[in-house]
């Protein structure tokens, strides 16, 4: 098992263990549910690690790998600039601000949010 | 024999210093005596750890300052040492936990038959003290703090709750505080050991006049207390005053 998987699996096991220990020592449902949900989230993360790491060819995990071993590996597309992250963040800000103090802002913000997400998705394809 | 006496004297001195360090109030209830012990143990343990670790941090700074451009031996582990410095702190905290566990049980113990019971209601921004079984109701205001009258050497049960936001009942001289939360009834026993007037206040931020949400606790002799109860809570009948602490 790679360290990434081991980390999440052991965290999830720890989450379950502490939830059980807490339930039997404190009999408090609030905390036991919180700890239980935490464990569930970690199980999902562990599952994701299994899938993601199988797909990747991790040259970083080979102790004797040299730079030449990595040749031909495609790390992916790295861009240096995009206007859409700030647009999406700003529109999310408008939506929440609208909910808090001025509902009209929320409608405008939602429209901008959808547009921004659409452009972001198209750009990163 | 002499060494034992020296040891005893030194440890007594250290204990006094340990509490003196924090200017901790003397502790005006039997519960506070126990709490004070806990402070003593932890302060001494803390001082000990502080001296040792400060020493360990400062020692290399004086001894191994850079004097030449040579590189020192590049060692980076020592399994035995690592095991030792994991186990020693572990043993220390286990011992501290034992002390904590013992003392907390004593402090939070609720007697079966408290001599008196007072229902305390916290609200924005003062207190209401209702003496159960009597018609005595003492209600304060932010600028007119109410007075809680308690008999000395007798156990009084406090039932604490809030009618609005969270508050916290704190008498520093009792070394004790407890939350007042709407929908929660918190009970604890107080057994004052010294006649006197003690300051109390709300410790949980509860809105703008939180700073003015104070009260006083007046501990009186049992005779005075009985007289006070008979007089329906009129403070004119109280003779023993004692110092404000």
């Amino acid at each position: 098992m790679t360290i990434g998987r081991r980390l999440f699996v052991s965290s999830a096991v720890f989450g379950i263990a502490i939830a059980v220990a807490y339930w039997f020592s404190a009999h408090n449902p609030d905390g036991a549910i919180l700890l239980g949900l935490m464990a569930v989230a970690l199980i999902f993360a562990a599952g994701y690690m299994f899938v993601a790491e199988r797909a990747a060819r991790l040259v970083g995990d080979r102790a004797n790998a040299s730079n030449a071993d990595a040749s031909g590996e495609r790390l992916g597309v790295f861009i240096v600039a995009s206007p859409w992250p700030i647009t999406v963040a700003f529109s999310a800000f408008l939506v929440l601000l609208g909910l808090a103090i001025f509902p009209v802002l929320a409608v405008f913000g939602l429209a901008l949010l959808l547009f921004g997400l659409f452009r972001l998705g198209r750009e990163s394809r | 024999m002499r060494s034992a006496r020296t040891l005893l004297a030194t440890s007594l001195l250290l204990c006094t210093a340990g509490c003196g360090v924090y200017a901790l109030p003397a502790g005006a209830t039997t519960q506070a005596q126990v709490l004070r012990q806990d402070w003593m143990v932890f302060t001494l343990a803390g001082l000990f750890v502080a001296v040792v670790v400060f020493g360990l941090i400062l020692f290399p700074l004086f001894v191994w300052r850079r004097r030449s451009n040579d590189y020192p031996v590049q060692f980076s582990q020592n399994s035995k040492l690592e095991l030792i410095y994991t186990i020693i702190p572990l043993l220390m905290v286990i011992a501290l936990f034992a002390v904590t566990y013992r003392d907390e049980i004593i402090v939070e113990h609720l007697g079966a038959h408290p001599a008196n019971t007072v229902d305390v209601l916290a609200f924005q921004w003062s207190w209401r003290f209702h003496y159960v079984g009597t018609a005595i109701n003492i209600v304060g205001m932010p600028n007119a703090p109410p007075q809680l009258v308690l008999p000395v050497d007798e156990t009084t049960r406090i039932n604490l709750t809030s009618s609005d936001v969270n508050h916290e009942f704190w008498v520093p001289a009792f070394l004790f505080k407890r939350d007042a939360i709407a929908g929660v009834k918190n009970s604890f026993d107080l057994r004052p050991i010294r006649v006197g007037v003690y300051l109390g206040r709300c410790a949980e931020f509860c809105g703008f006049d939180h700073a003015l949400m104070t009260f006083t606790v007046r501990v009186v002799s049992q005779a005075d207390y009985a007289r006070w109860l008979r007089a329906g809570g009129s403070s004119i009948v109280l003779s023993s005053e004692g110092a404000t602490l």
Binding site: L75, S82, A100 | Y22, T43, P60, F75, Q77, D179, F208
Partner: protein
């Protein structure tokens, strides 16, 4: 470097403000995070000075109760959510790809998005000061029912909730990005057990963020529903439960404390070896202790609730005490690193030593307040204020200054002045201890936190005055720092690529690093590849 990186040409301007607004380069995002954090540090520091002025004497009337509550709420919120955490995330953003030999973060656009979400979160929280009723005035943990609409009617509370909600979402996404980057984008030979300690601490921090922040988002959403959509989650008269708020908040709130300190354990573990000219002592133990702290910290939340009377104090006291063990291990690692080293007192090293001394006091008082019988006196008193400032101010803040003096040449290609840096350190160190040490006495004597005025009880005036004088000394120290940064930025002198004799990969590339970070990489065969490459004669010279 022979890994293929596809770069997307950008039509956007390459200079000026547009570049900063649209950049997805992890170095730009990191710098933005750190600068925004420092800005909020200065703002929150000014608020702290107002607090100390108001408390310098009994019965002061500089500010009223209404302003005072807003000031301490904004001070706490800004220091925690807008300074210490974002600074740590910014530093990690800058350093992680460099330390693992990657060209950028795994999700560059997501990275930029999280920064901007945090940026607007800060604006939202502070914009509360402009609305009717003023900013939030319920403290940084905003206990319900005090924060419910029936008591806190103003819009400032809503803006606070919304702002924190945005920052919590931003934090979660950043953690996902860090974990993905560290697990999948390491350079050839950079195995997990060769990661620099800072990067390891960020793995633990990210894991903690993933476990703790959802609880914050949930409690904020519930509070918002209570306030605006007729919810009764925390309303005891309608069957709700005010204690539930505390459970949910501290389930986030205590891990948050470690989210604010683990990255800085990493910083200290990077600085000390370099200036002791030795490898870190007990690498494996140091890494494992980070995860022990992260795990245990998920089981201690109710030690903030010892006085509620409805939690099992013994469970939480026991787990809280246990955290002292891995924290102690870290101290011994640092001591072991300095042991028989060759120590030189540069500014970053001074801040690292200051960190250890201050944090030790924070740790010892932390074990004290983890004991319920002591907490019954110390909770909500100035003893506690002293304790957590020793952890966050004496700890995190000193490490932040250490990090700035250590990595400033790498980030901006300019050296900060050693002379000014040392004055800054001594002013901060003396000022800090003057301010916060006396607060322990105030606390046990009975002074509660969050009061805007206090009566002239014996000793209170004097001790408070001492604390206020200390805060002024700190303020001078911060001014020296600001002056240092300004003069260094204007100077034409360039910093060398590796001014300190650093160990990890960021010291291999230029200062500042180019786009995509590296043009070449040394072979990576240990946790300090740059040292190995520059001192081949010392490699394997003995693991004793």
């Amino acid at each position: 470097m022979s890994r293929a990186i596809t770069t997307a040409p950008s039509s956007l301007a390459h200079h000026g403000i547009i570049e900063w607004l649209t950049s997805t380069d992890h170095k730009h995002v990191g710098i933005l995070y750190m600068c925004t954090g420092i800005f909020y540090f200065l703002v929150a520091g000014l608020l702290a000075l107002v607090i100390r002025a108001q408390l310098s004497q009994p019965e002061m009337t500089l500010v009223g109760p209404h302003q005072y509550a807003q000031i301490f709420t904004l001070h706490g919120t800004a220091m925690i959510f807008l300074f210490v955490v974002p600074f740590a995330l910014g530093l990690a953003n800058f350093l992680i790809p460099l330390q693992i030999g990657a060209p950028d973060m795994a999700f560059p656009r997501l990275n930029a998005f999280t920064y901007w979400l945090f940026f607007f979160a800060g604006l939202t929280i502070f914009s509360g000061a402009l609305v009717n009723g003023g900013a939030a005035a319920t403290g940084w943990y905003a206990y319900a029912p005090l924060s419910e609409i029936s008591v806190s009617t103003g819009g400032g509370q809503d803006l606070w909730i919304v702002g924190l909600l945005m920052s919590s979402i931003s934090g979660i996404l950043t953690a996902v990005n860090f974990i993905t980057t560290i697990f999948l984008y390491r350079a050839p030979g950079m195995t997990m057990w060769r990661l620099p300690i800072f990067t390891w601490e960020m793995v633990a921090t990210s894991l903690l963020i993933l476990m703790a922040f959802p609880s914050l988002a949930a409690v904020l959403a519930m509070l918002f529903i209570d306030r605006h959509f007729g919810g009764k989650f925390f309303d005891a008269t309608a069957g709700g439960n005010p204690v539930l708020y505390q459970h949910l908040f501290w389930f986030f709130g205590h891990p948050e404390v470690y989210i604010m300190i683990l990255p800085f354990f990493g910083v200290i573990s990077e600085i000390i070896p370099v200036f002791s000219r030795k490898p870190i002592f007990g690498y494996t133990g140091l890494v494992l202790s980070a995860f022990a702290i992260a795990g245990l910290s998920m089981g201690v939340w109710a030690h903030h609730m010892f006085t509620t009377g409805v939690v099992t104090n013994a469970f939480f006291a026991a787990v809280s005490f246990l955290i002292a063990v891995p924290t102690g291990v870290k101290f011994f690692n640092w001591v072991g690193t300095m042991w028989r080293g060759s120590i030189v007192f540069t500014t970053p090293m001074l801040f690292a030593i200051g960190f250890m001394l201050n944090f030790l006091i924070g740790g010892i008082t932390g074990v004290m307040v983890a004991s319920p019988p002591i907490d019954f006196q110390a909770k909500d008193s100035y003893f506690l204020v002293s304790h957590f400032h020793y952890v966050l101010g004496g700890g995190s803040l000193f490490a932040i200054f250490g990090a700035i003096y250590f990595w400033f040449p790498k980030v901006f290609g300019k050296m900060l002045s050693e002379r000014l840096g040392m004055s800054c350190f001594w002013l901060l160190f003396i000022g800090f201890n003057t301010t916060f040490f006396v607060m322990q006495f105030l606390g046990v004597m009975g002074m509660p936190r969050r009061i805007y005025t206090y009566p002239a009880l014996p000793g209170w005036g004097t001790l408070n005055l001492i604390a206020s004088i200390g805060s002024l000394i700190m303020a001078v120290g911060v001014l020296v720092f600001v002056w240092d940064v300004v003069t260094a930025s204007l100077s034409r002198k360039h910093a060398p690529d590796d001014p300190w004799g650093g160990y990890s990969l960021e010291w291999w590339t230029t200062s500042p690093p180019p786009e995509y970070n590296f043009t070449s990489l040394p072979p990576i065969r240990s946790e300090r590849p740059v040292f190995d490459a520059k001192h081949p004669e010392l490699v394997r010279s003995g693991n004793s």
